[in-house]
Symmetry: C2
Subunit: 387 residues, 2 copies
């Protein structure tokens, strides 16, 4: 179970290089340091571990890399937002309300930014990437609405979830509406290959959510099962978003594949950190409830590792709280303690860094310009974010 | 409120002609009688009303017309079923189970039959209509799964609903999966206009469901509001299914529009009878619970008419049971009694017949062949079915 020990520890070098990357002013210098970091990460034989401090230190940097990417794509992103607003127009005021609540209240716009940056990196010639980026965000919004119903979540991005404000029924139906609007935008972009890529991703996401439901409360879940869920429910849309940008810009097969792989690896890294933060995060910084995964009995990597490494007594704790779902006051704190003491948290983060490094490597096969650099930064800091 | 009185009663002629149409052996004779019936229906000035008996009498005939259509499209329908089975294959056994439960357990396959018959009527040259018909059934299946969650239904086609057997979460996610598989099939068919037509329909369906939720328990709902819901949640997919068949077969604009309008009018007629049957139907024949709409406080046409025509005392009954949702034993029987005594049921059925007649008229603008005749029969008897 889990990645081999050597790989698991190999990315300690990231922690040491992070400050230098943060301080580097020129994008070229930054990229060169990122590459050094990746080389180190790939070759480093020392089993050193990442400290939690290095994770916290990455907070501002991740926000800064997202902001940098948004600045690079500012005009496109405005157009994407306008396109989404038009797509949310409806006879039903409830659709506009729920859609607006979800789409406008915060949200990093990470996925549409991947589409925009990929398209710009590959010199897109028209406005179709705007429609595709908007479609990607609408697909994401639809899955969030349905996820929050499925997970009975109450807090997202620091605000109450739609299912709490408007009800589950409304969230299911408005999710369906967003999904259909996404398809209309994709159809309007008029590229059958892109349609194929994004509709496949939508299917894989739904499959991943069903798989996740099936592994819930199942302490037998392995690293491989966990990874299959993450690749489907999160990485598939990141991959499709980046690939769609490349395809619509007419990129060649090598570049298209590089961006697809970049999106996939970034998506896995991003979800691994999300799952780590559900135990290690601070509620305010995160803008969503901490401990949701624990309460739902989700078999995320921190629990997979912690259970695997637990004493027989601690296994009893996990069986009661996760498998039997019988939880009481103080259990979440105990779970957090066990996840830290077994180094399950550190190793989850190390695994995220491994995927982030792969994402940066993928970019070597893409055109080299400011968009590439911004995406590389995004990947590096996605594995050291705290929100 | 409601259609003008003259129109409302105009279709009594249908009831008188039905037996002759049923007995006619040759399709030509049948079509000619249908046309006579439509002419009568359009011109009949007498305010006669339809009897409930004529509705019951139509039961076998509707099944027979569906069977006739299935026989005409037998080979295509086999291919559609095989295509659906492939689309339901998944890593997740739950998807295959739920999908199979929904798609295989009964179901008239009305919507895919519209696509197949329209395509064959217009001499389609390849197999793309198979994929589109399968996609149409998958979209329908996805909306059924989500509807049953939204309506908290427990019985459909004589079997327990998926939300009862597997749970609401599972139904939401598997519905999303079916939806995405539908899009993949549409993309595989490779016609952007068809994609545009069907993705628009999916959006309109979701909008219609949200609108229906908003009119629920609202006794102010008018005939026009009711019709807007029915046109969106039901007729839009019937219309798109028939139109998609025409487009993929390369039909001209006039024929395409005729089939779209046919589908729309048939869909409205079909839903009107569905809503009548929720009060007038017999649970066994219907294969779904009678009284669901009443329990949910849905403002279907029988209630819209009955409330409009109610005495002040009876209005109190509707306010308590529908607006306040406070229901007790015997209330459904009382509601049924009021709907019959105010002729709300008769007029709902008359309205269905008017739409069925329009559907038959639409077919005059399409090619005339055996498929056209079968669709005309389907429309006529859709308004006199009991299941």
């Amino acid at each position: 179970m889990g990645p081999p020990g050597a790989q698991r520890a190999q990315y300690a070098a990231f922690a040491r290089l992070d400050p230098a990357i943060r301080q580097a002013q020129s994008p070229d210098r930054k990229l060169s340091l990122v590459r050094t970091q990746v080389d180190l990460a790939i070759t480093s034989p020392s089993p050193a571990r990442l400290s939690k401090a290095s994770v916290d230190g990455g907070a501002r940097e991740f926000s800064a890399t997202v902001a940098e990417l948004k600045a690079l794509c500012a005009s496109d992103l405005n157009d994407v937002n306008a396109t989404i607003m038009v797509a949310l127009k409806s006879q039903s005021s409830m659709i506009a309300e729920i859609g607006g609540h979800l789409i406008n209240a915060g949200g990093k716009r990470l996925r549409p930014l991947l589409t925009l940056a990929a398209a710009r990196m590959c010199d897109c010639a028209n406005d179709d990437h705007i429609r595709l980026a908007a479609a990607v965000e609408l697909i994401h919004g639809a899955t969030l609405l349905h996820d929050d119903v499925v997970d009975a979540s109450s807090l997202r991005r620091g605000a109450s979830t739609a299912n709490v404000i408007w009800g589950n029924k409304e969230s299911v139906l408005v999710g369906d509406f967003l999904f259909s609007q996404a398809f209309e935008l994709m159809v309007a972009a008029g590229d059958l290959r892109v349609l194929q890529i994004l509709s496949r991703a939508a299917g894989v996401i739904a499959e991943g959510e069903v798989l996740q439901l099936a592994t819930q409360k199942n302490l037998e879940a392995t690293f491989e099962m966990y990874l299959a869920v993450v690749e489907s429910k999160t990485a598939a849309l990141f991959a499709a978003a980046a690939q769609a940008g490349a395809v619509i810009a007419g990129a060649d097969a090598r570049c298209e594949e590089a961006l697809r792989s970049f999106g996939r690896n970034l998506g896995v890294a991003y979800q691994l950190i999300d799952d780590a933060l559900d135990y290690a995060g601070r509620e305010n910084a995160l803008g969503k409830s901490v401990g949701d995964d624990f309460r739902e009995g989700k078999m995320t990597l921190p629990v997979v590792y912690a259970f695997d490494r637990a004493t027989e007594a601690d296994r009893g704790f996990w069986r009661r709280t996760i498998a039997e779902g019988s939880q009481q006051a103080g259990d979440f704190e105990q779970a957090r303690k066990l996840i830290i003491s077994t180094r399950a948290l550190d190793d989850t983060i190390a695994c995220a860094k491994r995927y982030a490094a792969r994402a940066v490597e993928d970019l070597a096969r893409a055109p080299q310009n400011t968009f590439t650099k911004a995406l590389a930064d995004l990947a590096v800091f996605s594995a050291s974010r705290i929100s």
